[in-house]
């Protein structure tokens, strides 16, 4: 990363993307420097990285981490690729894993692909390594241009003990231009049972998109099998509902969603509706309003959120957000939790971007809180 920053022009002729973000907030004070970059040295080799350094982050005086540092080798004809380093593996139905390891992907001309990975799960902030390991893979097959089916497997060890073994399947179908369906499910092979499942079907018309969805999660199976709390038995949570997105007018988008929820003998619902009105054709200015309700016994809440982002000058933009959340059972934590933010963004050039904000909140743990936020970003993008 340092080398890339020191010699940006050495890679200037490549599709280089480098970015640095400095973030600070009061009154902690907290300072954060995030440096990210990616570059394709040749069509067959690319690299990306993201590192952060912070002071006062999470109560620590000084901390840092490398979130991503990976080299990717790929066949320019698209038949395969290899990633090595600190990377993320996403295997369709299997939960994303951050690994220090390698991942290999192969594709065939008839639409099959096989991906395999192996490595040690990342220990955050240069912490002590327990040398856990994880392996897995996914086999997928495209069925023409209409559908894709994948089967995945993962095996994780925590200090030598079996922490997770799951098999999963994912499916995406788009039989027509207006209808598509996507589903995934993962099954626990340690203590047999469904870990996680999702089904989503949507239809699209000219300015309308309707979606029906259902999810099922077993919270105890989401914990590593080495946790004592993973043995408590299955109390899966099931949600089913529908969402609608409507382009009500050329500049007005409305998104609404509602779902019912059942877990054990507990039932509830949640719903929200959000409207965004663009103040110009390019969407440089946006006004938004959102209403949300979660009606779950003992933890229900209602919220309203208003947003505005408007260009003040060609390079200056103002934005604000206001949220009022009222808990059904706030008790000693207060009846209403207001939160507001006012921000100004100055885009000094195509590369420099600065934002300053004040955030005011009253929340369960703190009666009144005022926080100043500052961000400066520099992009070395071509």
């Amino acid at each position: 990363m340092v080398a890339i920053l020191l010699f940006p022009s050495a890679s200037r002729a490549e599709p280089l993307r480098l970015r640095g973000d400095a973030f600070a907030q009061t009154p902690s004070p907290t300072g954060l420097l995030i440096l990210s970059g990616e570059d394709r040295v040749k069509p067959w080799i690319s690299a990306e990285g993201l590192a952060w350094l912070g002071a006062g982050v999470g109560g620590e005086t000084g901390a840092g981490d490398v979130l991503s540092l990976a080299v990717k080798l790929r066949d320019p004809t698209g038949h395969g690729e290899v990633r090595i380093g600190r990377l993320m593996v996403t295997m369709g139905s299997i939960r994303p894993l951050q690994l220090d390891g390698a991942s290999v992907l192969g594709r065939t001309p008839w639409g099959s692909s096989l991906e395999a990975f192996g490595g040690a799960p990342v220990v955050p902030r240069f912490g002590e390594r327990s040398y856990d390991w994880a392996v897995g893979g996914r086999l997928a097959q495209s069925l023409g241009e209409k559908a894709k089916l994948g089967v995945a497997y993962v095996h994780k060890r925590d200090r030598g003990d079996l922490a997770a073994e799951e098999v999963g399947a994912d499916l995406a179908i788009a039989p027509t231009r207006t209808f598509d369906l996507a589903a995934r499910t993962a099954y626990d092979l340690v203590s047999w049972g469904l870990v996680d499942a999702l089904l989503s079907a949507s239809v699209r018309f000219a300015s309308l998109r309707l979606e029906a969805f259902a999810t099922r999660r077993s919270p105890s199976r989401l914990l590593p099998a080495t946790s004592l709390f993973s043995v408590l038995g299955d109390a899966p949570a099931t949600r089913a509902g529908a969402s609608v997105r409507w382009n009500a007018a050329p500049r007005l988008d409305v998104l609404g969603s509602g779902a019912v929820y059942v877990q054990d003998d507990r039932a509830g619902y949640d719903a929200f509706v959000r409207a965004n009105l663009r103040t110009d054709d390019e969407g440089k200015g946006v006004l938004g309003l959102e209403l949300r309700r979660q009606g779950v016994p003992k933890s229900g809440w209602t919220g309203i959120r208003a947003t505005a982002a408007l260009p003040v000058l060609p390079r200056l933009r103002a934005s604000t957000e206001l949220e009022l959340a009222a808990a059904d059972h706030g008790g000693s934590r207060g009846a209403v939790w207001p939160w507001a933010l006012v921000a100004m963004t100055y885009r000094a050039s195509d590369r420099w971007d600065m934002a300053l904000a004040a955030e005011v909140a009253s929340r369960p743990a703190v009666a009144r809180e005022v926080v100043g936020l500052f961000r400066a970003s520099y992009a070395w993008d071509r």
């Binding site: 022009s9 907290t30 995030i34 994912d170 105890s220 054990d264 947003t307 961000r375």
Partner: protein, 352 residues
């Protein structure tokens, strides 16, 4: 006290950043090719790019060679290849990438545009360092692709999207409740996601102990962006976590709650004990109380404070023969060896 290695690392990065901002870099000998000068002299594009007007999907790139240049510039000022200085490497690479990654035929387009290259290559008249690739909006001047956009079917033109390293402008909308849908959609078309998003996009939320400022925090000035942790999430996170059991655990380790609460000094458990957060009905010596059902509904919530060494709190009662009885739910099975594997052996170590 900040560790020395962090200070050294920070200074190195700072030095690197300053060098970049101040423009301290090796001298770049390349210069943009003077397309403008040639156009104003009346040199037709096909004089240098010979054969391009008849070129189909495959074939050479038709980039001028030194021989092409000296056919007019009879006395070159150096013996070097002209392309070493005149013209930029990245522009040549763009052409190479486009040849491989795009389904495109120049011959058909030359006819349709009546031989006018500048209709698509509008920036050819600029002598600055620019990309000469026509933006996609130029394609839309003639081609309509609403149906393909709706179905996110890019294969008609884009043979190899990841190779192109391009960013769509506004034709790909994350419609619906994209936070819920993105995982399953990404599984079906990872290459499409990769055109805009690199691994660090995933890692900014799914990374272990991720960046301390989540994307929603860093983009505080863009209220239009949605996100799970948007606006006053800190106030309502307890409610949200209870209403979506398991949702937090899909990204966060179970220790996240505890470590954050301890750092913020608002922990109900752990070393900074204030008072129990649990209601009076939590534990009932004869009937167990509410804690059993609560633990089944939200085991990650329990593990947040009582994970690791804190599990001993449960084992005190829920051991074999202990007053807590069997903690397993109905029909519980496991492949684990109850005498040797963690966590079974904590309770079953007595050989029962």
């Amino acid at each position: 006290m900040i560790p020395k290695k962090h200070v050294v690392l920070f200074l190195c990065v700072l030095l690197g950043a300053c060098a970049g901002i101040l423009g301290i870099k090796p001298r770049n000998g390349e210069r943009p090719f003077e397309h403008r000068a040639h156009v104003t002299k009346g040199v037709a594009c096909t004089v240098c790019h010979q054969g391009i007007a008849k070129e189909g999907r495959t074939g050479p790139l038709h980039l001028p060679t030194t021989a092409t240049c000296v056919s007019c510039h009879a006395k070159p000022h150096t013996a070097q290849s002209c392309g070493d200085c005149h013209g930029e490497k990245h522009q040549r690479q763009e052409v190479e990438i486009a040849k491989h990654a795009l389904r495109f035929e120049h011959d058909k387009h030359v006819v349709a545009s009546n031989g006018s290259c500048t209709k698509c290559h509008a920036k050819i008249g600029e002598s600055r360092d620019v990309s000469l690739m026509p933006p996609m909006v130029s394609c839309f001047a003639c081609h309509q692709h609403e149906k393909q956009f709706a179905a996110r079917d890019c294969d008609g033109c884009h043979v190899d999207l990841p190779a192109e390293h391009v960013t769509p402008q506004d034709h790909l909308v994350h419609d619906g409740d994209f936070i819920r849908e993105h995982g399953v959609r990404a599984a079906a078309s990872p290459d499409l996601c990769a055109t805009c998003h690199s691994e660090r996009t995933c890692l900014s939320c799914h990374g272990v102990g991720t960046t301390p400022a989540l994307p929603a925090r860093l983009t505080f000035d863009q209220p239009r962006l949605s996100g799970l942790h948007r606006a006053g999430f800190l106030s309502r996170h307890a409610e949200e976590s209870k209403n979506n059991p398991g949702l937090c655990t899909t990204c966060h380790a179970e220790s996240t709650c505890r470590s954050c609460h301890e750092q913020q000094n608002v922990s109900a458990g752990g070393p900074i004990k204030r008072r129990s957060p649990h209601p009076s009905t939590w534990l009932n010596p004869s009937r167990g109380g509410d804690h059993g059902q609560a633990a089944r509904l939200d085991p990650a919530g329990c593990a947040g404070c009582h994970g690791g060494a804190g599990e001993q709190l449960c084992i005190g009662c829920h051991k074999v023969g202990g007053p807590g009885g069997n903690p397993h739910g109905p029909g519980y099975t496991s492949r684990k060896d109850k005498l040797n594997d963690v966590p079974c052996r904590f309770c079953h170590r007595m050989g029962s």
